[in-house]
């Protein structure tokens, strides 16, 4: 069988290279029974359309971020909350745990292969040092969707912009900073335009990425092919998590190389950030409960699996 695989990550991105390797590994281990045509960089479906594209059969497999479809994945959205992530491996493991435990209805129209999630999303600023929560008040900070809720809860003024625009805005001083994972410093060259990294790990968020497959295509596979896909996926989800961490490491080196400096938070100050971010989580529980799900149970489970993962 020939399967098409659409990924929004640009082909030069490590996450795209890994997906391509996944495809090759599947071809190898299935002995050529499953072949994969790989379309990186959103050439087949763009980030926002990847999930729907798989459901509709535009591509057979798709990778993108859950956050692009706000409201569509209420259970899985818990993983993106600012729960204080410290690594991509941890976040990835939490995402897969949460899926395995809840098997949420929201993903029932596809076959889920695996999830992965990027490293901790923290605060970067230009010119202004943010050492305590008060320093952040009223600063204009680039953040979208989830991170925008976090930024607002912490007292910053969120500005929703695309990454290329954010680079420009920061360079020209239109905004004062941004919430993003360390790897973005290199990946989107943000280190060129920011000066400080506030180590806001106690309130760090993540973004969950899915790899899903068209259900009919999955059902049509042989048992052996299914087994190969499941196996390779299980191995690769770990690799993606590790790759996020090594990208974070590269991003950190690049940030230092470009003259960036770190601002650690004391334990007490960190607790203040964590508490300030709490309303985002409470709001999630409220909204999910309104949809007829047990929001509290979802958050509790997510926090528990985070604790055991890191």
């Amino acid at each position: 069988t020939m399967l098409t695989y659409s990924n929004f990550f640009p082909p030069t991105h490590i996450q795209s290279k890994l997906a391509h390797e996944w495809a090759k590994e599947v071809e190898k281990r299935s002995g050529g029974e499953v072949m994969v045509q790989y379309f990186p960089g959103g050439t087949l479906t763009k980030a926002r359309q990847a999930y729907d594209g798989v459901v509709q059969g535009i591509s057979d497999i798709g990778m993108s971020a859950l956050a692009y479809s706000r409201g569509r994945f209420p259970v899985m959205a818990a993983v993106d909350l600012p729960l204080g992530y410290t690594s991509g491996v941890g976040a990835t493991s939490v995402a897969n745990e949460v899926y395995r435990h809840f098997k949420p209805e929201e993903l029932s129209d596809v076959k889920v292969l695996y999830f992965h999630a990027h490293g901790p999303g923290i605060l970067f600023t230009k010119g202004k040092k943010v050492e305590k929560l008060e320093d952040l008040q009223g600063l204009k900070v680039r953040a979208t969707g989830n991170s925008a809720k976090l930024a607002a809860a912490l007292g910053a003024t969120p500005v929703a912009q695309s990454m290329p625009d954010a680079y420009q805005s920061l360079r020209k001083g239109v905004v004062d900073g941004g919430f993003y994972p360390m790897e973005t410093n290199k990946g989107w060259k943000m280190a060129e335009v920011v000066d400080y990294c506030t180590e806001s790990y106690p309130a760090a968020y993540t973004t969950t990425f899915f790899v899903v497959m068209n259900k009919a295509k999955w059902d049509a596979l042989s048992d052996n092919a299914k087994k190969v896909l499941e196996e390779v996926s299980a191995e690769w989800s770990v690799k993606h998590g590790e790759a996020w961490d090594s990208s974070d490491e590269e991003g950190r080196e690049y940030f230092v190389e470009k003259g960036g400096s770190f601002i650690p938070l004391s334990k007490a100050e960190g607790k203040r950030w964590q508490d300030a971010a709490r309303p985002v989580i409470d709001q999630y529980i409220e909204e999910t409960t309104a949809k007829g799900l047990d929001g509290k149970a979802i958050v509790d489970f997510t926090e528990r699996s985070l604790k055991s993962a890191q």
Binding site: P11, T12, F39, G41, G42, T45, G53, G57, K172
Partner: protein, 410 residues
């Protein structure tokens, strides 16, 4: 184009998939923030046009350059470069400058092919002059500094503007009727005509100054420009309510057509992607055992051919990842390659069959100069194509033209 794309996609993947693809691609093109600047830049040009700003601008230019053959076309391509410093997209530059430039050039008796060819090709200067959408995408794909890429684009844009001016002079030498000479004005008259520039200078200072001071991003400059032009015109009582309404309507008509065309190109691009032609071609060239310059020429040839059929952004997305390692292996500079790619893909936007700028200019001229035929625009771009090829040759021989400015940044 949209139909071919959708039917082809349906045959290759499945009819069901094609039917799902169509609304999704079209909607996401319509609701794209970066593309939303196109209507705004068109509106800015329309308001400027209805307020007579463009007319005064050209009167001034005519005082200075009118006695030279083709002088107004030369002024137009220079204006395109200046406008390109505000606008990141080449169809948007072409659209704005055609609503401003074509009526004036027609008024002074310029040939259709020269007038329309100048704005369609000049639009490409808007992409080479920073800010530039394609350079941003290239920087992200290859991990190059976007700031450096932008700075690197400045000198090539100026070189190309000069070459365009030479091309216009060449056209007028072969055919003196294409850009007729006007009368020569004395210096006092020329200086007096500078007064006509005041509105433009105010708006320009507002937009450029605001961007450099960091008050807004290049993408937002479109809206600020609209507000600026409108503000100046209202204060000076140069635009009427009906003029404003007319510019809104004209903008809607044109942007609607432009967006439909872009959506069509996007759908067609998806079809091309699933045929895997771009991937295969790239793979083959990478495997050739030839000297460096020959491989580079072959790569640029592919970009040129691809640009004939595809949107430049989609083309860059599809092929840069394959060619980039090859180019690095041959010892070429990544910043240089990025700028050269933009130049080559800007040839694509003016060549048939899919020449977005040509269609944009054609769409714009339907109302202001309905006699201009699509054929004569395609004819008119020929000298400019030669100028771009010459420009690429210059960058080959003199890579310092690209690399000198960004080198200063280290």
């Amino acid at each position: 184009m949209m139909l071919t794309g959708a039917v082809g996609f349906g045959l290759l993947i499945s009819p069901q998939a094609a039917l799902s693809l169509l609304p999704r691609e079209i909607y996401s093109t319509f609701a794209n923030y970066d593309l939303s600047t196109i209507p705004l830049f068109i509106l800015m040009g329309q308001v400027a046009f209805h307020a007579g700003i463009s007319k005064r601008l050209y009167e001034t230019a005519y005082h200075f350059l009118g006695h030279i053959r083709g002088g107004l076309a030369m002024a137009t391509v220079s204006a395109c470069t200046a406008f390109g410093a505000v606008c990141g997209s080449s169809p948007a530059t072409a659209a704005t400058m055609s609503s401003v430039g074509i009526p004036e050039m027609k008024r002074y008796g310029y040939a259709d092919s020269l007038a329309a060819g100048a704005v369609a090709s000049g639009g490409g200067l808007g992409m080479i002059m920073p800010p530039s959408v394609v350079l941003i995408v290239y920087g992200v794909l290859t991990g190059q500094s976007i700031g450096k890429l932008f700075v690197a684009g400045i000198i090539p844009a100026v070189i190309l503007t000069a070459l365009f001016i030479v091309a216009i002079a060449g056209v007028c030498m072969r055919n003196p009727d294409a850009g007729p000479c006007g009368e020569r004005y004395d210096w006092p008259a020329r200086l007096r005509s500078l007064g006509g520039l005041s509105d433009t200078i105010i708006v320009f200072a507002l937009v450029i100054g605001g961007m450099f001071k960091g008050l807004f991003t290049p993408t937002e400059a479109a809206s600020i420009g609209v507000a600026g032009v409108l503000g100046v015109s209202v204060i000076r009582r140069r635009i009427s309510w009906s003029g404003f309404v007319q510019s809104l309507q004209e903008t809607l008509r044109t942007s609607c057509m432009v967006m439909m065309l872009i959506a069509g190109a996007v759908v067609f691009g998806k079809f091309l992607a699933v045929t895997r032609i771009p991937f295969d071609m790239a793979g083959q060239v990478a495997g050739l055992d030839l000297p460096g310059w020959a491989v580079m020429t072959a790569i640029l040839g592919i970009y040129f051919l691809g640009g004939c059929f595809m949107d430049s952004l989609a083309l860059v997305m599809l092929t840069v990842p394959v060619f980039f390692p090859v180019v690095l292996g041959l010892g070429y500079d990544p910043i240089w390659f990025g700028v050269v790619i933009v130049l080559v893909t800007e040839m694509g936007v003016i060549t048939p069959p899919v020449g977005i700028n040509v269609y944009v200019v054609y769409g714009m001229t339907r109302k202001i100069a309905p006699t201009i035929a699509l054929e004569s625009i395609f004819k008119g771009i020929l000298p400019f194509l030669l100028a771009i090829i010459l420009g690429i040759a210059v960058l080959f021989v003199l890579p310092q033209a690209v690399l000198w400015l960004p080198g200063l940044m280290d």
